[in-house]
Amino acid sequence: MTTIDTSAAPERAARPNVVRFLSRYGTFAAFVALLLFNIAVTPNFLSWQTLNVNLTQVATIVIVAVGMTLVIATGGIDLSVGSLMAIAGAAAPMIFMGKLLPIDNMGVLIILSFILPVLLAMAFGWFNGFLVARLSIQPIVATLVLFIAGRGLAQVATNGNLQVFKNPDFQFIAMGRIAGIPAQVIIMIVVVALAYCLVRYSVIGRQIIAVGGNEKAARLTGVPVRRVKTFVYVVSGALAGVAGLIVVARNSASDANLVGLGMELDAIAAVAVGGSLLTGGRANIIGTVLGAFVIQLVRYTLLANGVPDAAALIVKAGLIIVAVFIQQRADKV
C-alpha cells in the first residue's frame, strides 16, 4: 500500500474525550447551578436530612431512567414504566400478605414478594418488546397499550383499594441501611454501575447503540435487531418493577392509582436532560443520572421554598428547557 498518503491526517485523538466530558459537564453545570441556588436560598439545605431525602427520592427516578435510557438508545420509548411500577407495587403486598399464594412461611413469602413482582414486570416488558420487535409496532403506541391497561390491571387486582402494611423485612429495600447508606441508594448505584458497563464495554451494549443509530445497517451487519430490542424493554420492565417495590415499601402502602404516576415523563426528561437523543443511537448513563438529579433537585427546590404547585410547574418547564439547552451547547463545543 504505497500510493496512499495518510500522513496528512492531523492529530486529533484527544478530541472525543473532551467532547464527552463537556457534554456531561453541561448537565453538570445545570446541577451545580441548582445546588448553589439552593445553598443561597433554601433554608437548611446543607444538612444530612436534605441529602437523605433527595437521595432516597431520586433513587427510583434514576432506576427507571436507566432502563429508559437503554430503550431510547435503540430509538424506542417506554411509556408503560409508571404502570409497571403500579403492577409490581400492587403485587408485592398481595404476596407477602398471603393473599396470592398458599404459603405460610413468611421468609419464603418475603423473598417471593421481591422476585415475582419483578418477574411480572419483566414479562410485561417482554410483551412490549414483542410488540415492538416482532410486530413492528411503533414503540410509543406499543407501550401506550400497557400505559393505559397496566394501571387498570393493578387497580382491578386491588379493587382500587389502598393496601396498607407494616413489614420491616420487605420494607428493608426502602427503609434499611447498609453501612449507613440507604438500601435504595445502594440499589441505585448497582443499577447505574451495571448499566454503565453494559453500554460501554459489552457487545450487546454496543449493539443497542448500533440499532438506534441505523437499524437497517445494523441488521445487515448481523446484529440481532429483534433480540436487542426485546432485551431493552425487558430490562426497562424489570427496573420499573424494582422501582415500584421501593416506592410501596417507602410509603408502607400500595395505591395502584398513584404508584409511578407520571414516572414516564420524569424518566424521559431525565434522559433528555442527560444528553441522550430521543431519536436513538446514544446512551449516556452518567448523563441520565445527572439528569435525574437535576429533575429531583428542581422538584425539591420548588417544594422546599413553598412555591405553589401551579407556579412550580411553570418553573420546572423553564428549567428543563434551560438544562437541555445548556447541555446541547456544551455538546457542540
Binding site: T6, S202, L220
Partner: protein
C-alpha cells in the same frame, strides 16, 4: 467568469478540511474537480451551496460577492446541486422529488399535479427512464435514484449545475445519457462542475480541470493540456503504480464451489438467477440498471427471503432467515448504498469497522478493546483511511473513506465469501487499484468474491468470470477467455421475450 471562489478555508472542530482552496468556472464550461478521497471536493461545493459556512475566503457569482446561508438561497441564485450522497425525500413520489421547492402551481396557488406528473415523466423520458412517477423514490435502486436526482438538477433552469460523483452508481449506458445531457446544458450556456474519480469520463466530457490535494487547489488547466499521468501525479502528489490486469487466466475451475445459486427467485426483481463462486476466485456479476444484481445479493445474504430455487453454500442447501445466519456461514456483504444500508453515522470509525466482528471480539460478553484497537489500526493503515482518529464519527469522513471503512468491516471478519456491491464506488484512482489488488490477494489466499459492478473496466480487470443478469434472469456466464467489453455489452443488452 461565472463563478470564482478564492482562498476558501474551512476547519471542522479545528481540523482543516480546506486550506485556501480556489475554483473558478466560466459560463458554458464543464469543469472537472478531482482529488483523492478526503481532498476536500465535497466540502468545497457544500460551502458554495450554503450547506456549510466557510471560515475565510471569497465567493463571487457573476461578479458579485455572495454568501449563502442555506442551500435554498444558492438554488434561488441558479445553482443546482447533486450531492454525493443522493439527497431525495424517500417517501415522496418521483414527481414530487423532481419539483420539490419549485412546484408548478395552478391559478389558485394549488399544486398543479398534472403538470408535475407530466413534466417529470417527460424529463425522465429524455433520460430513457420509463418509471411510474407516482411511486415513492424509496421504491427504486440507487442508480435510478441517482438519475432522478440528476433530472431534478437539470430541470432547475440553473446557470451552474454541480454534480458530485454523479456516475458512481451508473452503468455505461446511463453515463452516456448523462453526458448527452451535459452537452445540451453546455450548449445552452449552463456551466457544469463535475466531480469524479473515473478519469476516462472526465477526459470525455470536461473542458477544464481543477485538481485538489489535502484541502488545497494544486493545479488548474485545460483538460487537453493535462496528460493523464500528470493529472494523477498532481492528485496523489506522486506517481501511480501501474494498473495491471489482476485477473487470473483460468485454473480455478478445479476448485470446489463455495456459493451456488440455482434458479434463485424472489418477487418481481429476481426471477431466475444461477451463478457459482468457487474457492479463491473473483466472480463478477454484471447487468444493466434494474437487472436485479443488488436484489440477488440481498437474497444470497438473507436480507430478502428466497422464494424459488436453491442456494448452496459449500454444497449444503441454505435458506437464510436473517443476514446474521449468512454471516455465521462466513458470508459478508458490502452494500451498494452506504448511507442507508451501510454506516451507523454517529458511531465511531472503530465501532463501525468492528460491528460485524463484535460477537467474535468478546470475552464473556465484554468487548476486547485491545484486540479491537489492533484490528482497527491495522485496517486504517492497510486501506489508507484518511481520518483524524479511529474515534471520529464515521459521518465526518469523506465518502470514499467511508467506503473503505465499510470494506474493512467485512475484511476483518475474515469471511470465506464476500459479496461486494460496487466495491470501488466513490473511491479514488489511487486507492481503487489498491483495493482491487487487495481483493485479488485475498482471493489467492482462498477468499471467494462475488463482485457486482457497473464498471466494465473493473470487471474486465479483476473478474475471473462474469455472470450477466438481464431482467432478473442470468442470461450469460462468460469465462475469462470470453470476456471482452463487446461480449459483456452484448450479453447485458440481451432481451428476454
Amino acid at each position: 467568469m461565472l463563478l470564482s471562489m478564492q482562498d476558501i478555508s474551512k476547519a471542522f472542530s479545528g481540523v482543516a478540511a480546506l486550506r485556501s482552496a480556489s475554483l473558478s468556472i466560466a459560463e458554458g464550461e464543464v469543469m472537472a474537480l478531482v482529488g483523492q478521497n478526503g481532498a476536500g471536493k465535497s466540502t468545497l461545493i457544500k460551502i458554495l451551496t450554503g450547506a456549510y459556512q466557510r471560515d475565510t475566503g471569497l465567493i463571487r457569482l457573476e461578479g458579485e460577492d455572495v454568501v449563502f446561508a442555506t442551500p435554498g438561497q444558492s438554488q434561488a441564485r441558479g445553482i443546482a446541486t447533486i450531492y454525493q450522497e443522493i439527497n431525495l425525500a424517500p417517501q415522496r413520489s418521483v414527481a414530487e422529488n423532481i419539483y420539490l421547492s419549485r412546484e408548478p402551481k395552478t391559478r389558485f396557488g394549488l399544486l398543479d399535479r398534472r403538470a408535475m406528473r407530466d413534466g417529470a415523466a417527460a424529463v425522465l423520458k429524455t433520460f430513457n427512464l420509463d418509471i411510474d412517477v407516482d411511486l415513492p423514490v424509496a421504491h427504486f435502486s440507487a442508480a435510478t435514484r441517482q438519475m432522478i436526482a440528476i433530472a431534478r438538477a437539470v430541470t432547475q433552469k440553473a446557470r451552474l449545475v454541480i454534480m458530485d460523483e454523479p456516475t458512481s452508481s451508473l452503468d455505461e449506458r446511463e453515463v452516456a445519457i448523462l453526458f448527452q445531457t451535459i452537452r445540451t446544458l453546455k450548449k445552452n450556456g449552463v456551466a457544469v462542475l463535475f466531480i469524479g474519480h473515473r478519469l476516462d469520463e472526465l477526459y470525455e466530457i470536461c473542458d477544464r480541470v481543477t485538481i485538489m490535494r489535502d484541502g488545497q487547489t494544486v493545479a488548474e488547466s485545460a483538460m487537453a493540456d493535462m496528460p493523464k499521468m500528470e493529472l494523477v501525479r498532481h492528485m496523489l502528489g506522486k506517481e501511480l503504480a501501474a494498473f495491471e490486469a489482476i485477473a487470473r487466466d483460468g485454473g480455478s475451475e478445479a476448485k470446489p464451489v463455495r456459493l451456488l445459486a440455482d434458479g434463485v427467485g424472489s418477487g418481481v426483481r429476481v426471477r431466475d438467477v444461477s451463478l457459482t463462486v468457487r474457492e479463491g476466485e473473483i466472480s463478477g456479476l454484471a447487468g444493466l440498471l434494474g437487472s436485479g444484481r443488488t436484489e440477488t445479493a440481498r437474497i444470497l445474504f438473507g436480507v430478502d427471503r428466497l422464494q424459488s430455487g436453491a442456494i448452496r453454500v459449500d454444497g449444503r442447501e441454505r435458506d437464510y432467515n436473517e443476514p446474521a445466519d449468512a454471516i455465521a456461514d462466513g458470508i459478508g456483504l458490502v452494500s451498494e448504498d452506504r448511507k442507508i444500508d451501510g454506516i451507523i453515522p454517529d458511531m465511531s470509525i472503530r465501532e463501525n469497522m468492528t460491528l460485524a466482528l463484535l460477537p467474535k471480539l468478546k470475552k464473556a460478553g465484554i468487548v476486547d478493546r485491545a484486540r479491537q484497537q489492533e484490528i482497527v489500526t491495522h485496517y486504517i493503515k492497510a486501506l489508507g483511511v484518511k481520518c483524524a482518529s479511529p474515534d471520529q464519527p464515521i459521518k465526518e469522513l469523506s465518502g470514499g473513506n467511508q467506503q473503505k471503512v465499510l470494506l474493512a468491516r467485512w475484511l476483518c471478519t475474515d469471511p470465506r465469501i464476500l459479496i461486494i456491491d460496487e466495491p470501488t464506488r466513490g473511491i479514488d484512482i489511487g486507492a481503487k487499484a489498491e483495493i482491487l489488488k487487495l481483493l485479488r490477494r485475498l482471493a489467492d489466499e482462498g477468499l471467494s468474491v462475488l463482485m457486482i459492478s457497473s464498471e466494465l473496466e473493473e470487471l474486465l480487470a479483476a473478474a475471473d468470470h462474469v455472470t450477466v443478469l438481464s431482467d432478473g434472469r442470468s442470461v450469460a456466464a462468460l469465462k475469462r477467455n470470453e470476456l471482452s467489453e463487446t461480449a459483456l455489452l452484448a450479453a447485458m443488452a440481451h432481451q428476454v421475450n
